[in-house]
Symmetry: C2
Subunit: 347 residues, 2 copies
DNA sequence: CGCCGCACGGAAATCGATTGCACGGCACGC
DNA sequence: GCGTGCCGTGCAATCGATTTCCGTGCGGCG
């Protein structure tokens, strides 16, 4: 069946005909710096422009065995943490001549698998993986098949190339900040412990709790099933309902912290007077919340950009050694944290 | 130069060899329902599975002259209005076997042009355009070349396929809501009048102002240079600095409204007691603001999904007639609007 | 018993670009 | 004056799949 041609696409043969040369000459004139009479090249270039010739990326991909396309797996584009990361990756990709195919995995294994299949079938040259839950098995398989990929904001046993922040350290710093403000009972709404970020931040928090001699009450630790506002809200309500409620809450990410903020407000308590709140990631909205959220600033854009750069370098062929980039993250202290009032902390 | 093969990709020839048939037979067995002995098909399928054969989408695209890929142009993925639209489009695309290439144009003409070139070079089958500023000239050109595309949340003279909401009507409804609450001086922070959404919403607002006999003071109308929070903040400050300031502000979108919210707070005024605020779009965060924002609810996910469906139908070959889908948008009344206090309105 | 048609599957063209190889011509050196 | 080498370009193979066109063999029907 003949498909309706929306546009009478020009092929290299058309240009060749117009310039009265062989197709191969057209290719050479337009691509490499092969030896070519200047006049010939000029003629070809003119013909190409006149015909509005755009070489077919598909045909070229087939021949060159590379598509100049990167795949990017993200759990959820609607989570404000990711757009800046994506933008960073996109900008770098574009400037290097790569296109980016974005995929929302929703952290659902089947969707991940589907997308992985689709992307590899489409022969993307490499993968940026920000999907936090993707199992180590999948990662290991990619590794085994020597498929180029970079992990963003997560790590995994099998990964050679990662771009992250020091979650442990920053989480400890966040809790340390609360301790310095005099808080003794600090609640932690941990992220899913199936994710490296959730895990590491919880470890950091625990570490700091020990180091500063804070209350080690197990009831102060609760694991969210997702990095979402809803979960933050739910978990915060549990913490607030405790006989001796925490005077501060450290959420594993900003969305969780925002949920906590709402829960606190709904409990007719004030932030930060009654309960201080700290988040993680510093999404754009964090600063604009009421009150502005104290949180760990993560250089999101730079993270995406760095990951893309790393991946593209890897694709360049230079055998990159293991490379685990750890970007600096620093605590941004805002108005959602304050000195612990002695009145708080009792039921 | 031979590139390092990350994976020993299986080709149709490998499968053919393994199944002891001709490559064409493999293709038939795996694709169409051509007449094939059941036993042969079984043998091929088994061989394919055993070899983990995945047909090259690149080769197939070349032959079929279609890539099963859609391009999507969005001004800014970090604007929370767009992610749900993208998700809608992505879900539909995926379920129809299409991939989606996402591009942030930043509403910058050069970037749009660049992406347009890249996308067409890559032979995407069609385009979803949510980039609000793209000039009519570009649109017309696409139309002339019969390149399939659908406009999302915007219109243009040359466009056959669009998915929008009735901006005029909804804007009028928003202002009508304020009038019903007794507001006489309603300020409008209009979006860029170079965009159809900005234009239509301003028209709707003006219409309602006339219809309800509200103050037609030109000073109450101000045009933002972008649909951003910063611009909303800046413009709101101008409005609040007026001798007789408005008792209500209608922002052309939620980000502008959020900026206004901040400006009002910074001016030591209260929302909604001193100034009511209405937005447009109902981004997810609108409901969670303090106070929750009254705004026009736009079915974002459905908008993206509908656009993708429309585009894919168009690609299906059925000659779709002009089709301008207008999705229903309704005012979501929340706590950022209240009756006008008689005290307000004077300097 | 012979012919027709159909089911099956192989051969080869095709999609559009890249690239190693070869060839014609010209310049230069011996 | 002829061989050598290089420059510029054409030729043809190639990438991996799809699809049209045939050839073969078998069965049914007249």
């Amino acid at each position: 069946m003949r498909r309706a041609a929306h546009q009478p696409r020009r092929t290299i043969a058309d240009v060749a005909r117009a310039a009265r040369v062989h197709p191969s000459t057209v290719s050479r004139a337009l691509n490499d710096g092969a030896v070519l009479r200047d006049e010939t090249r000029k003629r070809v270039v003119r013909a190409a422009r006149r015909l509005d010739y755009r070489p077919s990326a598909v045909a070229r991909s087939l021949r060159l065995q590379r598509t100049l396309t990167l795949g990017m797996l993200v759990p959820d584009i609607a989570n404000p943490f990711f757009p800046p990361i994506i933008r960073g990756a996109e900008d770098v990709a574009l400037s290097c001549g790569y296109a980016l195919v974005l995929c929302n995995t929703e952290d659902v294994p089947e969707r991940e698998a589907t997308y992985l299949r689709v992307l590899r079938q489409r022969q993307v040259d490499g993968l940026l993986i920000a999907s936090s839950r993707m199992s180590d098995a999948v990662i290991t398989r990619l590794r085994r098949e020597r498929f180029p990929f970079v992990l963003v904001n997560r790590s995994a046993r099998g990964a050679e190339l990662t771009v992250t922040v020091d979650n442990r350290r920053s989480a400890a710093e966040a809790v340390g900040h609360l301790a310095a403000l005099g808080h003794r009972r600090v609640g932690h709404i941990a992220g899913p412990q199936s994710t490296t970020t959730g895990l590491e931040r919880a470890e950091g928090a625990r570490l700091a709790i020990g180091r500063h001699g804070l209350a080690a009450d197990a009831a102060l630790w609760i694991e969210a099933t997702a990095f979402s506002e809803e979960e933050g809200y739910r978990c915060a309500r549990v913490l607030l309902a405790l006989g001796r409620r925490p005077t501060a809450i450290f959420g594993a990410n900003d969305l969780i912290a925002v949920g906590a903020l709402r829960a606190i407000r709904d409990a007719r308590l004030r932030v930060p007077e009654d309960v201080s709140v700290v988040g993680f990631n510093d999404i754009r909205q964090a600063e604009l919340l009421e009150p502005p959220l104290t949180t760990v600033h993560v250089p999101q854009y730079e993270m995406g950009a760095a990951a893309a750069r790393l991946l593209i370098a890897r694709l360049g062929g230079d055998p990159i050694p293991e490379s685990h980039l750890v970007l600096p993250a620093t605590l941004a202290v805002r108005a959602s944290t304050a000195r612990a009032s002695s009145a708080a902390g009792v039921a």
